[in-house]
């Protein structure tokens, strides 16, 4: 049954892409949940994570990556990018958002847009590094090849029409444990409790002795780190990165967060999987050039019938 194979293929692609989007979307939804900010810089943070990963790889030299050394490199990149993005997100919050805690939400949003522009520009400069991985840095703005550390062989055998590759395995092996770990942090630890309390009512949380600034900082740290993980698996999955990729990725992830109900982590994952699937199905069965239109059309329709997203709870305003 050829069409079954074809459909399964789209399912796999869609879900894998969806899981990558989900990691980024969680970063949006966590920050939104706690300070009600659409963190515009988050997508660009993700982009810088990919540039860092490539730089780390370049520092080891562009050898012939295979077998164990490739997997070791993947682990190193994951740790480096996660740490970098976490720290960077924390820093952006300190410098650009924290001074505006009491300002209007729109000022905060403009500050985030400003931060986003700065990060994009840093990405452009980064691409100009005179390293082999950046093709000598001559054409700074050009997309960069990301070495195929993870092979594209079909795990289901060469005869199978359905492609299931180590890349897909990588995506799931990274994202699922991260999501389980995050759920554990949020539901079981003191920090998680403090995060939920701060999200619900920052003033009351502060009165109860919670250091809300630290909690917000931790939220940015965790959200950023997830973006860093996502940037590495995205780069290994797609093998090309560009300083402009933060916009597209951020847009998808933010759409996912809203679709699922912004502020809700299961919602962000659900929304991301829906978007991943809609994208791959639309690419395969309709036309690629209409995919964006279809994604946003579905978003609008869902929001008309469920104004708080798929899993969002409609908060009743206190009157």
């Amino acid at each position: 049954m050829e069409w079954v194979d074809f459909f399964l293929q789209q399912l796999i692609t869609g879900l894998s892409n969806g899981m990558i989007i989900a990691l980024i979307a969680i970063g949006y939804t966590m920050v939104y949940g706690i300070i009600e900010l659409i963190n515009f810089a988050h997508g660009d943070l993700f982009m810088l994570g990919a540039f860092l990963a490539l730089t780390v790889l370049g520092a080891f030299g562009l050898g012939d990556w295979s077998g164990a050394s490739a997997w070791a490199a993947v682990v190193i990149m994951l740790i480096a990018s996660a740490g970098f993005c976490g720290a960077l997100n924390w820093g952006v919050d300190r410098l650009a958002y924290k001074p505006l805690r009491n300002a209007s939400k729109l000022s905060l949003l403009v500050s985030a847009i400003g931060a986003s522009f700065i990060l994009v520009n840093l990405g452009l400069f980064w691409g100009g590094l005179p390293m082999d991985v950046f093709a000598g840095g001559v054409a700074a703005a050009a997309p960069k090849d990301f070495p195929a550390l993870v092979p594209n062989t079909n795990l289901l055998g060469d005869d199978s029409l359905v492609q299931f590759t180590p890349k897909d395995v990588l995506v799931w092996a990274v994202t699922v444990p991260l999501m389980i770990g995050l759920t554990w942090i949020v539901t079981r630890t003191r920090l998680g409790k403090a995060m939920r309390a701060t999200a619900q009512n920052p003033v009351a949380a502060r009165l109860m002795g919670i250091d809300t600034d630290r909690v917000i900082g931790a939220t940015f740290l965790i959200g950023g780190a997830l973006g860093g993980f996502a940037s590495v698996i995205y780069s290994l999955y797609n093998n090309t990165i560009s300083f402009q990729m933060g916009y597209r990725a951020g847009m998808d992830a933010f759409t996912a967060a809203v679709l699922g109900g912004i502020g809700s982590m299961p919602g962000a994952v659900t929304g991301a999987l829906v978007i991943g699937l809609v994208r791959s199905m639309s690419d395969a069965y309709l036309e690629t050039r209409w995919t964006n239109t279809i994604v946003f059309g579905i978003l609008v329709l869902i929001l008309i019938f469920r104004p708080s997203g798929l899993l969002g709870s409609r908060a009743k305003e206190k009157v």
């Binding site: 329709l301 008309i304 019938f305 009743k316 009157v319």
Partner: protein, 344 residues
């Protein structure tokens, strides 16, 4: 028939029943008080009456009618129009390229008169030739989604606060909600909106009726500020008012729509004794204007002093109603409320 009839109102939030099967009637010209301990469901009841919440069960009748949109011809017309528009859009979204090429591009020659009739005919022929799956089917789907959207959105807005305000029920809020960046006059003018007639074009083009309306509305807004004693600060920002005055401005804003019923949610909260006396006086004067007043209040002196009728809520249930004297004599009510919290 009473002016306002509350019949079996129940409000549930998840597992919590905030208001449980509450019924009462309010007559024209009364000052009517709702009392009860904190968390008894008084404000929730107000929200259910004024359309902020949709009651889980029960109904509110004002002058004998449930203030609520009923399905009518206009809804049908709107659904039909949107359906046609959405269906046509879906059809065109898929086929416009083809129709444009056949109808317009193929017939147009620069600097020659354009054969409109032929173009339309060609485009129509092309439209008829579109296969079912790419023509009629998307059009039907589009029309269905369009009509469904209209009905879904209408369903959600059948009993909204603005509808109820326009019917003649005005309110104030427990935690005062003024338009703080607008001046006092402008706050009152917003309250007067339902009585204004000038539309977008009148305002944009400054037609004669614009200045006529501006004259009488501004005069009346100043009169209302005078009535609550704030006319001296008419052009200051509402946000600059001291707390005690804010309540008064809220009352003036609510009165601006010439309501039949005014609902006051804890008007005396945070006031000192002399301000409370002034407030009682103000509420009486509001009643004397012919406005029926319903108030939530903890301040027993005020409630007992001015109310014609009182209902007592506890844990969302109505446990007693009557005149102030009757409530004082009712042991259950006294125990529930007066005994523990009453201040004389």
């Amino acid at each position: 028939m009473s002016l306002l009839e509350v019949r079996g109102i129940t409000m549930r939030f998840g597992g919590l029943t905030a208001v449980d099967d509450v019924s009462f009637n309010v007559d024209q010209g009364q000052i009517f008080a709702v009392i009860g301990p904190n968390g008894a469901g008084k404000t929730t009841l107000f929200n259910a009456i004024t359309g902020v919440y949709e009651p889980t069960e029960g109904s509110v009748r004002f002058r004998g009618s449930p203030v609520r949109l009923e399905p009518d011809a206009r809804l049908g017309l709107r659904a039909a129009m949107v359906a046609i528009l959405a269906g046509l859009s879906a059809f065109l979204a898929i086929n416009i390229q083809e129709l444009w090429s056949v109808g317009i591009a193929a017939n147009y020659v620069l600097n020659q008169p354009f054969p409109w009739g032929k173009a339309a005919g060609d485009a129509l022929d092309a439209a008829r030739a579109v296969p079912f799956a790419w023509g009629v089917l998307p059009a039907i789907l589009g029309a269905g989604v369009g009509a469904g959207t209209v009905v879904a959105l209408w369903q959600r807005s059948r009993r909204t606060p603005d509808l109820i305000a326009r019917a003649g029920l005005a309110r104030t809020f427990q935690n005062i909600r003024l338009f703080t960046d607008l001046s006092l006059v402008e706050n009152v003018l917003v309250g007067m909106d339902s009585r204004m007639r000038s539309g977008f074009w009148t305002n944009l083009l400054r037609l004669p009726s614009f200045s006529r309306e501006r004259t009488w509305t501004e005069r009346e807004a100043l009169e209302l500020l005078e009535f609550v004693g704030l006319s001296e600060r008419a052009h200051e920002a509402a946000g600059s008012l001291p707390y005690g005055h804010r309540r008064r401005l809220e009352i003036a804003r609510a009165l601006a729509s010439k309501p039949a019923v005014l609902l006051l949610d804890e008007p005396a909260a945070g006031m000192n004794p002399s301000e409370v006396v002034d407030l009682m006086e103000l509420i009486r004067r509001v009643r004397d204007r012919g406005v029926t007043v319903i108030l939530i209040e903890h301040h027993m002196k005020l409630v007992m002093g001015i109310s014609d009728r009182i209902v007592v809520l506890q844990y969302g249930k109505l446990i007693g109603q009557g005149t102030p004297a009757e409530i004082r004599a009712d042991r259950r009510c006294v125990e529930a409320y007066l005994g523990t919290e009453g201040e004389g």
